[in-house]
Symmetry: D2
Subunit: 294 residues, 4 copies
Amino acid sequence: MSAASTEDHRYVLSLGCPDRTGIVARISTFLAEVGGWIVEAAYHADADTGWFFTRQAVRASSVDMSIGELRERFAAVAAELGPETEWTVSDTGERKRVVLLVSKEAHCLHDLLGRAAGGELPADICAVIGNHRDLEAVTRQHGIDFHHVPFPKDPAERGPAFEQVRELVDAHDPHAVVLARFMQVLPSELCEHWAGRAINIHHSFLPSFVGARPYHQAFARGVKLIGATCHYVTAELDAGPIIEQDVIRVDHADEVADMVRQGRDIEKLVLSRGLRWHLEDRVLVHGRKTVVFS
Amino acid sequence: MSAASTEDHRYVLSLGCPDRTGIVARISTFLAEVGGWIVEAAYHADADTGWFFTRQAVRASSVDMSIGELRERFAAVAAELGPETEWTVSDTGERKRVVLLVSKEAHCLHDLLGRAAGGELPADICAVIGNHRDLEAVTRQHGIDFHHVPFPKDPAERGPAFEQVRELVDAHDPHAVVLARFMQVLPSELCEHWAGRAINIHHSFLPSFVGARPYHQAFARGVKLIGATCHYVTAELDAGPIIEQDVIRVDHADEVADMVRQGRDIEKLVLSRGLRWHLEDRVLVHGRKTVVFS
Amino acid sequence: MSAASTEDHRYVLSLGCPDRTGIVARISTFLAEVGGWIVEAAYHADADTGWFFTRQAVRASSVDMSIGELRERFAAVAAELGPETEWTVSDTGERKRVVLLVSKEAHCLHDLLGRAAGGELPADICAVIGNHRDLEAVTRQHGIDFHHVPFPKDPAERGPAFEQVRELVDAHDPHAVVLARFMQVLPSELCEHWAGRAINIHHSFLPSFVGARPYHQAFARGVKLIGATCHYVTAELDAGPIIEQDVIRVDHADEVADMVRQGRDIEKLVLSRGLRWHLEDRVLVHGRKTVVFS
Amino acid sequence: MSAASTEDHRYVLSLGCPDRTGIVARISTFLAEVGGWIVEAAYHADADTGWFFTRQAVRASSVDMSIGELRERFAAVAAELGPETEWTVSDTGERKRVVLLVSKEAHCLHDLLGRAAGGELPADICAVIGNHRDLEAVTRQHGIDFHHVPFPKDPAERGPAFEQVRELVDAHDPHAVVLARFMQVLPSELCEHWAGRAINIHHSFLPSFVGARPYHQAFARGVKLIGATCHYVTAELDAGPIIEQDVIRVDHADEVADMVRQGRDIEKLVLSRGLRWHLEDRVLVHGRKTVVFS
């Protein structure tokens, strides 16, 4: 948690593998051998899938080797845990990179820019890409590049625009591509290409109200709470693994415009929480679901 | 609110009609003319449907006539507001009647029995009807009649059982028929017969997870909040007007059994709130939605 | 609610007076006489103090007179309700004015600037006054004047600085003076001078953790929820009438820095909600408490 | 979590000790050596106090020895971690015992009886002790002993009554002594005697509104949320380590009686959650605070 200054940076190990006896012992013994002072440790054994997940953070200063050597040595441990094991070791002292995709709605962009400026987001926002120019000025005020990529009205003709977006995004090799109310459905090849890195905020409590105009759908149904969902983007619309959700109470006096206004606050909170957890390697995806060590 | 002792009972007017200028003036002038000291007043003008709703409570002691005469005199006012006007005048000093339909799950029944015993529910529970005998003992401990109506396994053969339930319920002419985890789909003629009085608790945040085993559906989808919905029963399954909803946070460590356990608390809260509002004439139905003057 | 464009602006009547029979009738009859189409109406009869409160909004287009004439005619009605009656009639088409007092913390300022830019706040931010220059740049980016008023370290010598703040504020005759994490205790004469207009955000769930460093106090006590409180400023520190409060869950893993970060989100929400309600004349103060017709 | 049937019971290790490198490795290596299949594991390193906490649950069937032998062997590990180490090893297959202290308010007792009957509480309620007879009947309906211990009006003369309560409680050697709205302040020697086992539910969001009539205090202050706090009892009134808290929204229309009614729901939830966590050895006390591995 808190700020990751280079003085007290941490090495963060995230891992998922088939569950069996002795995994915690194997990993923690390794960490002890390299001198790692554990400041955060979380585990989850998933009875449903028989999978084991862990995230551990050690003080970098307690480990007497480079992160490269640490990774090399841990690779041998991971190999013992089986060929399906997936793991990463990251350094909180290395800034992560984020690219934002936006359209006309300002609130999520404005919120993330403010959090980044305040040092709350453990990443740099490298670029903002918009299919409209509405959010260019506010982006540039924060000293961040804005790229305008116009999208044709006909969905069938958007291929070149998406290709341009892809190139602009990939130039930064970002840890997260955030669809901050981008309002465009990514083609499946981009979903695949950015798998595990593309994060969307959907303005409903999924799986309710998939697709367009969810506040209108919520108003028509007469629900008493509205919500927002932060999830990884997959080829199936609004069906990717959910990272975070939250809701706010509404009542009969709230018209669609009121729901839109109140919903913005939930969208901002849910997106910023989900993104921060993703950037801190707290989110492990398994199938259609996530483990979140928040 | 508070207790409706006969000492300080109230007359409650609930009304819905097409909106136009002067309705509030007409109604409040009438109440002033009969001496009514207003202790609660709520209004809603629905821009979407052009409908007007109000609920007003006056001290019975301030009105110098019987409730029968009050109704008679108000009928003339209502007539002025147009033929579509729907209204009721009730007396909080007259105990309302509730019949509960249950199956095997005890928590909602136990919760409502406790609230009734504690004087929190402004009604008498006249009878409990179960398609199993599991909840007979706890019902009788509270001095309430329990009727066992076995249901055949084949849904096509349940007609006589539902007919028996109907007769047992109608014998009490209840203000509310509560499906307290009854787990049986009412035939459409019963939905029609008890329209506006049959209240169900569904163990999901509708419209997500309609139908059977919603906690299993929620677990499979990996949602981060689970919920419950109290709604009026209509012929379309889990699609009736929503009275109240609420949610509770879950995470990756919660298995289906944990969701079931935590969900019970939300079911109890949501059902008890929705039922109380219904019994206090705080819920006005219009089309597929409700106005709740909570 | 929603935006107050001049096309569909509304006249809003807010009133408090000693309760008795016939008040609603008197007011609503008046509104009907002037042709007022009521779009929102809320009432509260306070049993504890014997006071009556109402807020009513009518379509301006439905009233065939100027707001000046409307006020003049309503004054006669108010006079009938007794000498203690307090009331206002405002026009949502007239922009209200807000002045912000800040120090070094950016989040509340940044949030309010974003909401104002997005048209969500029914007011213009006329000026920002800071006792430090940290927030000058972000203020000016939004095209808003920033005034730097340095404060001496010795509290006993701050009189002239407060006098300068007072002049800068009063130049705008604002409807709200918002202490957006200003971190300075207003002298009692300023509390008196801006009574009912000075709004503070305190970063605790009052009355817990009055005064300095509330997150440190919360951490030391080991509470499981932290909160924020938006309240009117009075001479007694953190004891003014509460407009809005909310909380967020924390646990043993959250250090003070985590509480500070998570608390910011609650501060922003609570302040923005409280301020909007104040600006929409939804908050009526009575003694140490508020009636909020949200 | 879930039910602790003897088939799949678990051994639960809870431990607190001064933090240093290698603790996780030492404990998990020990568990691996005895064959322990870990199904739940949680850690917390407290930066503020330099203390380390863990709770781990292993399948009993995976460990090839008695719990007595497991404890004996773990004692050697604990000794390595220093003389300040505190730890327990419990078996979820051994039913725990709870004694309830009550007065006249039924809701918490009724709620706990229902949860125990529904198999939701991992413990047996051995006895209920009341200073009034109001709750005798409902207790006996559940087949549980009720002891009536009248309390003199004069606090100075209550010594013998408390002595009788102590004897009745200690006869069951309970894992938890729950003050379920007992409304009597325990003498400090009983606080000491039941330290870490006596659990109180206070009907406010502590540290706000300590002592008597907290809903009246909340009403007078005009707060917008009311709450409840489950905490360990210590000699200082309402100041013990907090296990769980929650809140519910109220508004100006809620009188004290409404707060009392709505507050009951929060009291029940907070007490039942806190008690369950305590009984599942999820709560570790350190100084004035708790670590809760929920």
